[in-house]
């Protein structure tokens, strides 16, 4: 039997999808309105899944009293009400697509000391979500 616990968090941020390796015309073709010069924003939802033994003393895989401040510090404080392109170091060399965002968030959260990060899922809108599991994360590297 394997037990995991999942917690959802929210932040709002702006971004612009633009690759300096592509021409202006190619950027418009590839990213469409997401390439709008002045950017746009989303209400992001981050779903964090942790696994590990349930501590008999607490009944918990991870104490939210420890997880919440960790996520607040590592993710929410970094991304909330920010311009991802201009204010988040992770995106100095990566386009802030949610595929790249989920990797950046994964790298930050895998440092959580009290349980094992199993999955991160980011909803850019209620219609689009992006997911990275522990197995898949081993093969992907984004500096963060």
């Amino acid at each position: 039997m394997k037990i995991s616990v999942t917690r959802r968090y929210r932040f709002a941020a702006s971004h612009r999808l633009y690759s300096p390796e592509l021409s202006e015309a190619e950027n418009r073709r590839v990213y469409g309105k997401c390439s709008n010069l002045h950017g746009h924003g989303h209400n992001y939802v981050v779903e964090v899944t942790l696994t590990g033994p349930v501590d008999p003393a607490t009944g918990m895989v991870a104490n939210l009293g420890e997880l919440d401040p960790f996520v607040e510090r590592e993710v929410i404080d970094v991304f909330d009400h920010k311009n991802l392109n201009e204010e988040v170091a992770d995106f100095q060399s990566y386009v802030p697509t949610t595929e790249n965002l989920v990797q950046a968030i994964y790298r930050r959260l895998e440092r959580f000391p009290a349980a094992r990060l199993d999955r991160v899922r980011v909803e850019e809108t209620s219609n689009n979500s992006f997911e990275l599991s522990r197995e898949e994360a081993r093969t992907l590297r984004v500096e963060s």
């Binding site: 039997m1 394997k2 037990i3 959802r8 590990g52 349930v54 009944g59 895989v61 939210l64 009293g65």
Partner: protein
């Protein structure tokens, strides 16, 4: 393989307290969940059964039968109850959604005759849930590898 999920809700009271810890430790670890007068949640239970559809019925299982099992095994036991005092299966455990999911798994596993119990998910709120599954490495392991 097809996975079929049935959802059911129940409302219950609980609080977190470990009698082996001091009052100060209980407050530090469990925060406001340690309030001895308790608080409550509208729990949402999602039960997933995996299997191949029967060629005659086109169904992995009879959902009416699953609905009856969930009513009998979970809702009748936990709905409008105090999880610390009134659910013997949780006796001696902190009634977190992790432990509730494991208890529900153990209650349901022997009752499922069509298909295989694949996942028990217990939402304590829309922003917090625990999953119990059979697969994966049992070692778990605390701390980042």
């Amino acid at each position: 393989m097809i996975r079929v999920t049935r959802k059911v809700e129940f409302s219950a009271a609980h609080f977190y307290h470990n009698p082996n810890l001091s009052p100060e430790e209980n407050r530090r670890i469990f925060g406001k969940c340690n309030n001895p007068r308790g608080h409550g949640h509208n729990y949402v239970l999602e039960v997933t059964i995996a299997g191949e559809p029967d060629p005659t019925t086109g169904m992995v299982l009879d959902l009416k039968e699953l609905k009856d099992i969930l009513q009998r095994e979970v809702v009748d036991r936990m709905d409008h109850r105090h999880l610390n005092y009134e659910v013997p299966e949780l006796a001696g455990q902190i009634p977190t959604c992790e432990n509730i999911a494991a208890v529900i798994w153990n209650l349901l596993a022997p009752k499922i005759s069509q298909g295989k119990l694949d996942r028990v998910r217990v939402y304590e709120s829309p922003d917090l849930f625990a999953d119990c599954t059979a697969d994966g490495d049992a070692s778990g392991g605390r701390g980042a590898a």
